[in-house]
Symmetry: C2
Subunit: 146 residues, 2 copies
């Protein structure tokens, strides 16, 4: 399951993408109000997205956040990974942050790992192919078969 934080992050990123078209800076307070998120909580989330290079920020009056790249170049997977970490179901199946499972006796003979990699690839195919731009454009975001 995704954390609330991750879901907030995606929603917030969508707002930044939508409201910041003319290179305007979008403020936390507004996003928080529209999405019914605690302002302080959202601050921490956006700082993280900025640290990870998805957003840019500016302090002071008329400051705020904007996308660091084009909305079409930021996938939902990117945002989720910033907050919740890898999409994979096990560390050993992650491509972005591979790691050995603590409970695994011998990776090379693990019967789960290949399956977990398939599962990872399946989710990644969906979430990496869906950009913020796509989510905004398509109501329902079904880029493939609709």
């Amino acid at each position: 399951m995704l954390s609330s934080k991750a879901k907030y992050a995606v929603r917030a990123a969508l707002q930044v993408a939508e409201l910041g078209r003319d290179a305007d800076w979008v403020q936390v307070a507004g996003i928080a109000q529209r999405e019914a998120i605690s302002r302080k909580f959202l601050e921490a989330i956006l700082v993280r997205l900025r640290d990870e290079g998805l957003l840019e920020s500016r302090r002071g009056a008329q400051g705020g956040y904007r996308l660091a790249r084009a909305a079409a170049q930021i996938s939902v997977a990117d945002v989720i990974r910033c907050i919740d970490g890898p999409l994979a179901l096990t560390p050993c199946a992650s491509r972005t942050r591979y790691g050995q499972c603590r409970d695994c006796v011998d990776v090379s003979r693990c019967r789960l790992q290949p399956l977990m990699q398939q599962a990872r690839d399946a989710v990644a195919a969906v979430l990496e192919n869906c950009s913020l731009a796509a989510l905004i454009a398509a109501p329902g975001c079904v880029p493939l078969d609709v």
Copy 2:
């Protein structure tokens, strides 16, 4: 990410499937030793798999566990769901245990949900199509393209 418990559960189920072919009862202690899991911890896991109808048990000497259905009729998804709950990334995308996200303002206008359903379907397609029997048979369990 899967919990350790869920991974233990799949490994244990595999052992029960493998060692219990002749309707033999497989003991917790043996599984625990071979998979390097705490016996008491594993007990709790197997009880849960039994409560959920995946395993049958018998107490006393020569007792133990065996599959409640054929190994080909139990998917990895079944086992994981017993322990960790739905595969979906959000409650609102779960088919087996649908529920509204606590942080969602209006489900009908949620822009994430359709995408989350796609992601769920993608993982489910992999994990529901892989049975314990398949995992045992195929080293690497790649039923589709290898």
